[in-house]
Amino acid sequence: MTLADNLFENLRLELRRGCLTLAVLAQLRREHYGYTLRKALAQHGLEIDESTLYPLLRRLETQGLLVSEWREEDKRNKRFYRLSNDGEMMFVELLHEWRELNKSIQNIL
């Protein structure tokens, strides 16, 4: 990997980081467990590594934006996540912020 590639990779990760949180919050307006969430995001064109997505869910739950519960499905215990009340409010605010940002970028371009 050249220096330019490395720089691009770092900037790309930086750019994606905030968007991933927004996408996860958006997707969790409906209940999901880790793997189905990952699949759902991938179907919308957003591939996320397991090592990024699953810890992110935990972090968002610690921050009070998600709630979770263990339930059995297909004879297997799974932890299902969905937006909490705080998470819903935060999602609306972040979405507004993202739309404004997107509009500005579009205007600049």
Partner: protein, 345 residues
């Protein structure tokens, strides 16, 4: 035990122990679902090589587990700029202080090659220990700010309550944060500099101007000053003359507002030279007995003790002066480099 179980076991080792089982159960559920679906798509179980590839794509166990840690860094981006600034300052000062202390120690004892080598080899350890302390302190600050932001002083967290009004003006910034001198200030400096010079020149004839009643005591006491104080005195006079001359020139030329770094350096160099002159005193004696043959038995110990005290004080004065001198040279070097870089642009 299949490869996935072995992977999960390896991940477990690095997980935060309080939530280890919960995280592992969730991760296992997610990965097993994924594996199951993959195998259902293929219509068969994965071969050993395919399983290896799939587990490899999950990433090293330490990385996977590390992302579950509540804090990913020792010193976060909020306080990192301050950490870096303090670190550079601490290392620089530590090196300067260490060098001066070692130099003085070596000169005062026996300046051998092995003493110099030991001093040089000791420097990295001192710097390492300083860096470790600075890092430990800032890691503790980071920990405290992440765990109880409200309780922590805002100015340490990130200068939240700084005031734009406290920013230095362009003139202040150019003169190292000092306000420019007014005309009245510059004139007062010249007048008082002149008076100070006259006062200094009168001291040899009228020692009471310096020592007050102590002059009479010295005259009657069995002690006298060594001759090394004479060149020291003239060096101090020269220092005052240079300072006064420079201030006069600045006043006449209208460049009184900010004194230049070169002026400061010259004054400090003469001051340092004056102090170093004192080290030329034979047998490290700055105070002597007027009649050694008569008074040695009674006052010999006292005079030795006085000379030892003067010697220790001089060592400290030289150490501090050298540090200030080196700091100023360093600052001049940095200013010169910045100007050169700016000119090249």
């Amino acid at each position: 035990m299949n490869l996935l179980d072995r992977y999960l076991l390896a991940v477990k080792k690095y997980l935060p122990w309080k939530r280890q089982d919960d995280i592992l159960a969730e991760l296992k559920g997610n990965l097993e679902s994924q594996l199951e679906e993959k195998e259902a798509d293929l219509g068969r179980t994965l071969t050993s090589d395919e399983m290896q590839d799939w587990v490899k794509h999950l990433g090293p166990p330490m990385v996977m587990a590390g992302r579950y840690q509540p804090q990913q860094y020792l010193i976060g981006p909020t306080i990192f700029p301050m950490y870096w600034w303090v670190m550079r300052l601490a290392l620089l000062w530590c090196l300067v202080i260490y060098s001066v202390i070692k130099a003085v120690e070596i000169i005062a004892n026996s300046p051998t090659g092995s003493a110099v080598l030991n001093g040089v080899l000791g420097a990295p350890w001192v710097l390492l220990i300083t860096a470790a302390w600075v890092t430990a302190v800032f890691a503790a600050i980071e920990f405290a700010t992440t765990h109880s932001l409200a309780k922590f002083p805002a100015d340490i967290v990130g200068h939240v309550d700084w005031s734009p009004g406290s920013l230095p003006t362009a003139e202040e910034a150019g003169s190292g944060g000092k306000r420019p001198r007014s005309f009245a200030h510059a004139v007062t400096e010249v007048v008082f500099g002149f008076l100070a010079l006259i006062w200094l020149l009168l001291i040899p004839s009228y020692p009471f101007l310096l020592m007050g009643p102590g002059a009479a005591y010295l005259r009657m006491s069995p002690y006298q000053l060594a001759t090394v104080w004479v060149p020291f005195f003239w060096c101090i006079v020269a220092l005052n003359v240079v300072q006064l001359g420079w201030r006069l020139i600045d006043l006449v030329r209208g460049t009184r507002q900010n004194s230049r770094a070169l002026q400061h350096l010259t004054v400090k160099t003469i001051g340092l030279a004056a102090t170093l002159i004192l080290f030329t005193a034979p047998h490290r004696e700055w105070v002597l007995l007027k009649h050694p043959a008569i008074d040695a038995a009674r006052y010999g110990a006292a005079v030795n003790s006085i000379n030892h005290g003067i010697y220790t004080a001089l060592l400290w004065v030289v150490a501090i002066s050298v540090m200030v001198w080196l700091w100023q040279i360093g600052q001049m070097g940095v200013d010169y480099y910045r100007k050169r870089v700016a000119a090249e642009k």
